[in-house]
């Protein structure tokens, strides 16, 4: 079942993206389930939330410009949440 092309489970950056979203966007821990679930809209929504905050086009995908920003050095304090 295509995950809306958001993040296929074997996307090379999925692990990194998972950690990034968990660490900075309070993404739930058990992303395995979410990423594998048929309905991947929570993932898309979370990626869009991050893209919005970082001033990126809200594609909901881990496109290259999104990955570029995610790979840049940054502050360790989360962007959302407590």
């Amino acid at each position: 079942y295509p995950l809306h092309g958001a993040v296929s489970k074997d996307h090379p950056s999925m692990e990194f993206a998972q950690q990034y979203l968990e660490k900075y966007y309070s993404f739930e821990k058990n992303v395995e389930q979410v990423f594998r679930r048929k309905d991947s809209s929570p993932v898309v929504k979370k990626i869009q939330e991050m893209q919005k905050f970082l001033g990126l086009e809200m594609t909901g995908k881990l496109d290259s410009s999104t990955m570029d920003v995610m790979l840049k050095p940054r502050c360790g304090v989360p962007d959302v949440g407590g």
């Binding site: 660490k23 900075y24 919005k52 905050f53 970082l54 001033g55 920003v69 790979l71 840049k72 050095p73 940054r74 502050c75 360790g76 304090v77 989360p78 962007d79 949440g81 407590g82």
Partner: protein, 377 residues
């Protein structure tokens, strides 16, 4: 901008900070200077002011660490997470941690300590991240053109002032951020607008302090020498408030904010800095404007805004009946004194680019000179 959930903020304007350890990437005084400048970024736009502790628990504890460092937020090696900090509050709240696995620098290469520290200290004061790419509080690190030209964005200013309000105009600090690069401009000694931060004698020599420099006038060399303060006393801050020599103690006392240091020759004495309140000042006094020791009566006069105190160097106690108004005992001397010097039986009160020669016997100002007249200008 955003603030942390619940908008935690410090309930006082005078905060302490302590640099707990240092990165081997930079000289200590460069770290001191970068942190001092990062704090000044926020000080300039709020009522907040900061003083540094060299031991004990400060509101903001600043440290360098690698990997797991005891707060459940382990660092991750070079890159990605550079540092983190906690919102205002007791204990570890307010603290800022820097990842020692980064290459900390003062310039564009590596990771610029000043820029990251200014961001992290924004967190220590209560700001969360901003989605404004121009804001200091934007989470992704990018080296702005040059820290020397660094300016807070309006978004940052709106954010911090939503917590603490603006800086009271009377305290407005107009000191431009000088560069954290190692080539700051030397002040021009014959600039007619030159003013001094502090002036003191030292074993017969004359020291005139300005920003991070001081001129030294010796008896054997009429031409004054200019030096970096840190070249003689690395642990002393720059932009001093006051300095005086207690002749009976063979020491020069240096004041900045609510702290002071004792210097003998080029040795900063152990156990300093101390809080000015140990001299007997009330808590309302946050800084000293000027100080001078009267070698005739071994008393030291401390000037704070329009008042002054008198301190007995023999008993180490503030005299009773003080503070008194400056204008009552030094008629003709403008308040808000920058520095004071005693020489040739006169007191020389520095106020901006002017200097008032005061005759204590006649109790009147006998001459008005340019402040830099001592530099043969």
């Amino acid at each position: 901008f955003t603030t942390f959930p619940g908008s935690p903020k410090w309930r006082k304007n005078h905060l302490t900070y302590r640099i707990v350890n240092y990165t081997p990437d930079l000289p200590k005084e460069s770290v001191d200077s970068a942190i001092e400048k990062a704090l000044k970024v926020w000080e300039e736009v709020t009522p907040l002011n900061f003083s540094r502790l060299s031991e004990g628990e400060a509101d903001i504890m600043i440290s360098f660490a690698v990997g797991e460092h005891g707060d459940f937020y382990p660092f991750d090696g070079p890159g990605q997470s550079l540092a983190h900090a906690y919102p205002p509050g007791p204990g570890f709240y307010g603290d800022a941690h820097f990842d020692e696995d980064e290459k900390w620098t003062l310039g564009p290469s590596g990771t610029n300590l000043f820029l990251v520290a200014a961001h992290e200290l924004g967190h220590s004061l209560g700001l969360f991240h901003s989605d404004n790419k121009e804001a200091l509080m934007y989470p992704v690190y990018r080296f702005s053109t040059n820290p020397a030209q660094f300016r807070l964005s309006q978004d940052d200013i709106n954010g911090i002032q939503s917590l603490y309000g603006p800086r009271p105009s009377s305290d407005a600090i107009v000191v431009p951020l000088s560069s954290v690069s190692p080539r700051p401009e030397t002040p021009v000694k014959c600039d007619p607008a030159l003013s001094f931060d502090a002036v003191s004698t030292l074993r017969g020599e004359l020291l005139l302090f300005k920003d991070r420099y001081f001129w030294r006038k010796t008896r054997w060399n009429s031409e004054p020498e200019v030096h970096l303060i840190s070249a003689f006393w690395p642990s002393l801050p720059s932009h001093l408030d006051a300095a005086y020599e207690a002749h009976n103690k063979d020491s020069v006392f240096i004041f900045k904010g609510s702290q002071f240091w004792a210097v003998r020759g080029n040795e900063v004495q152990a156990g300093y800095p101390k809080a000015i309140y140990t001299l007997g000042f009330p808590p309302a006094v946050r800084k000293i404007d000027a100080a001078v020791n009267d070698s005739n009566n071994k008393k030291t006069y401390f000037f704070v805004e329009d008042k002054y105190w008198r301190f007995n160097e023999k008993t180490n106690l503030m005299d009773k009946g003080f503070p008194r108004l400056i204008k009552d005992d030094f008629p003709g001397v403008e308040s808000r004194v920058d520095a004071v010097l005693q020489a040739f039986g006169f007191f020389y009160f520095f106020h901006g680019s002017s200097q008032f020669e005061f005759d204590p016997n006649a109790r009147m100002v006998t001459h008005t000179l340019k402040s830099n007249s001592w530099l043969l200008c």
